[in-house]
């Protein structure tokens, strides 16, 4: 370099710009992490961490996932529990019926391979693993219909594996539940 002072000045400029850019990026990342932490704490929203096991070889014949117990059930506290079974290549029931504005607990498992549980237009998104029960809670604010495709590749029929979720008015649902009694769980399977 012909002029060592000038060279020093230019490297100073580069170092200063790099420092400022790095600071700005650290601040950005800190803001994003803070928003994620705030959402997690404020909503108490986090991935399900409890592990509940079930024998996939016998769940068709005994326990809460026998066919007559699948679908929506009104609990004594007024909430609704929906039990769903996934297998290659369908969900049982094929059409879930749930009320709007009521806390709903989904309990789902798989009888063969890993499947996915996803309800469109909601944040419901979970894996269904054989041997484990996936449990998650939510409340549907509005009535409407949602698709429920399997989103974990489960075999050659994977693309045809999907169900419907029908969210109906709370009073209508409770009337249907009262009429049905405990004979069979509610669903919208025709």
């Amino acid at each position: 370099m012909s002029n060592p002072t000038d060279s020093h000045a230019s490297s100073e400029v580069a170092a200063r710009v790099e420092r400022r850019w790095a600071t700005a990026m650290v601040v950005l990342v800190a803001i994003l992490v803070a928003m994620v932490v705030f959402t997690g704490l404020h909503w108490a929203m986090m991935p399900p961490s409890r592990v509940e096991t079930i024998n996939p070889g016998s769940l068709h014949v005994t326990g809460e996932f026998v066919e007559t117990n699948l679908g929506s059930a009104v609990e004594p506290d007024g909430s609704v529990t929906v039990r769903v079974l996934a297998q290659e290549y369908s969900f049982t029931p094929q059409c879930l019926l749930v009320p709007a504005g009521v806390p709903i607990t989904f309990r789902a498992t798989s009888s063969d391979v890993v499947h996915g549980f996803l309800i469109t237009d909601t944040n419901l998104n979970s894996m269904l693993e054989p041997g484990y029960i996936s449990t998650f809670r939510t409340t549907f604010e509005r009535t409407g219909e949602h698709l429920m495709p399997c989103h974990e590749y489960c075999g050659t029929g994977h693309q045809g594996m999907w169900a419907h979720v029908k969210v109906i008015d709370k009073d209508t649902f409770m009337q249907m539940a009262a009429q049905a009694g405990n004979a069979r769980r509610l669903s919208c399977v025709k």
Partner: protein, 60 residues
């Protein structure tokens, strides 16, 4: 890579001096490109958070 030597004017600044002069002005172009790219990503992140994620409701 083309490495044609830059012709130097007799009596003018050397190539090293001209490079120093350019670097001293700061990397405005690089900052503009990186700034726009970063802004796009961050804006999309916030759009997904406020327009998609929050309205879809809480899951526990």
């Amino acid at each position: 890579m083309i490495e044609t030597p830059v012709p130097e004017m007799p009596g003018g600044p050397t190539q090293a001096e001209r490079v120093d002069e350019i670097v001293r002005r700061g990397p405005c172009g690089a900052l503009a490109v990186a700034g726009i790219a970063t802004a796009l990503v961050i804006v999309m992140w916030f759009m997904f958070y406020f327009i998609v994620f929050l309205p879809r409701g809480v899951i526990q």
